[in-house]
Symmetry: C2
Subunit: 192 residues, 2 copies
Amino acid sequence: MLDNIIDQVSSLIRLNEEEKTYFASKLQVRQFLRKEFVLREGQVCRYAYFVNAGCLRYFYNVEGVENTGQFFFENAWYTDYESYLLEKPSKQNIETLEKSELVLLSKQDLWQLYEDIPQFEKFGRIMAENAFLGLRARNEMLTNQTAEERYLQLMRERPKVMERIPQHYIASYLGIKPPSLSRIRKRILNSK
Amino acid sequence: MLDNIIDQVSSLIRLNEEEKTYFASKLQVRQFLRKEFVLREGQVCRYAYFVNAGCLRYFYNVEGVENTGQFFFENAWYTDYESYLLEKPSKQNIETLEKSELVLLSKQDLWQLYEDIPQFEKFGRIMAENAFLGLRARNEMLTNQTAEERYLQLMRERPKVMERIPQHYIASYLGIKPPSLSRIRKRILNSK
């Protein structure tokens, strides 16, 4: 059950068997149903979540409208990194979009790993870099791309989103209403 | 000339004298005039910049308008982290707003430090975390605060900006035009 996460971490840093066992001792595996909340806004995000199976999305509730930030599939990590680092209430909601198995790593345990196995600092650096790059890419998309450009990029780069995510969440991720997404899809189909 | 940067890094990770000397050997000190470009959009941002003296701002050029992202003063680091990490052309401009002394650390040298002095991974992690948190705070400000709230927060939290940065750059940072900033300042003054 922990093979995927240990493989993923081992692809970034070298761990011997003893260190792998110690790392594994810090992890909790939890099962979630489809459409179950992993984090609700107002809660402190106490865990980094590794997707062993299934799919996560995070979203903001803005005056009753859900603004979807991102989707995460097998072997991806997600946490509201700001809430996790600063231990302050999150503005995000994280939920499963499929029946999911998540591996949880608390901040306290990650900080302990930094102390006990210094290579984990490299893991932490790469995680933080990726969090930064993900946020930057999201900003970039929302600032500089039309909805149609966003959708075409999604088609090119994120086949799992196209295959597994319902259209109304994709619309929410693109920052548009479902009917606009239908129009974009029709236009793309007709132009082929 | 390198005392500040070595002190700053030593406040995050423990370095012995030999390691400090090795770190120092990777640094370049450069003098800049006021209003000199440190990075122009389209260039790859090859260095992380530590402000030894003076002040930096970064901005985006959006259809002839300068959108100011942030200001950095003594003992702060800045780099276009996305361009630095991915070695792709930057969309940002970085310039000095005062005569400045900057200490430059190239990506290649930082990666060498990660290899040779593994504690630097912790430094890298904290830098990446701070880059993430800075971007998140900026997003938050632009999304959820009125211009007046932004200005009041700046007054409370960033005295150096209020003292050293000309008003038109502050307006640009707040995402408003200079006359709007004048009105906000008048309103705040009258409400005291």
